[in-house]
Subunit: 142 residues, 2 copies
């Protein structure tokens, strides 16, 4: 059901400043930075093993990430797990009355399907589930 | 330098209660629970991919984990990275004036060597570094 940790998301006020620790000091490599409009953040992706560190900088003052930063300060924001079958995962969570932020999967960049589980149901941790599109989906021959 | 995420540590007030989400709902497997006296916690280990979720329940009221729980409530506590050479990692951090909780590695269970980096130097994230003993260290023949 759960394949691996896809990423750990960390809220930062300034991406360039945060590179001093994660890249210069710790030695991770910056893969790329992209704007993620649906979360109102700029995100920096730093691969580590089979997972990634994602540094999130809010691009407005109203989004969930911006309000988290204002309230709690910089730090770990959520953990994202890759699952085989996000519908099955959400059905299992619902059957146990775990509160969900997204009752149905939403589609993100690259065709991944994702949903957030409410921290009320996890013991204080914001949990994201990803189902990635299959890498080897057959391409029809023309 | 950094090999992978070894674990994500999550502070919980009650290990049994927390299994409802992490095991029953999310579908992770509980590998084992052990007492970790040097951190004054009982720790539950739940493997996921090449990493683990570690649920930490304080066993006293004075330890760092207990004070974190009292101040911030349950949630993500620290992220632990496996490194090849912990002395080299600490030297690099010191050379950039990153504040460390452990200036020198301490030895934990199973012979692993570990050190914590202060959240002041990471942008609000408590970071732990692990160097595991080699798995294939030669056993002298008798």
């Amino acid at each position: 059901m759960i394949k691996k940790i896809n990423h750990i998301a960390i809220v930062v006020p300034d991406l360039n400043e945060s590179m001093r620790f994660w890249v210069d000091a710790l030695g991770l490599e910056l893969d790329h930075i992209e704007n993620v409009p649906e979360q109102s953040v700029d995100a920096a992706f730093l691969p580590v093993g089979e997972s990634k560190i994602e540094l999130l900088r809010p691009t407005d003052d109203e989004s969930g990430v911006a309000r988290y930063l204002a309230k709690r300060g910089p730090g770990m924001h959520h953990i994202c797990f890759e699952v085989d079958d996000i519908e099955a995962s959400l059905a299992r969570l619902k059957s146990l009355d775990i509160p969900l932020i997204n009752e149905e999967p939403i589609t993100g960049s690259g065709g991944k399907r994702l949903a957030f589980v409410h921290p009320k149901g996890t013991g204080g941790v914001l949990v994201e589930l990803y189902q990635l599109p299959p890498k080897n989906s057959p391409i029809p021959e023309l």
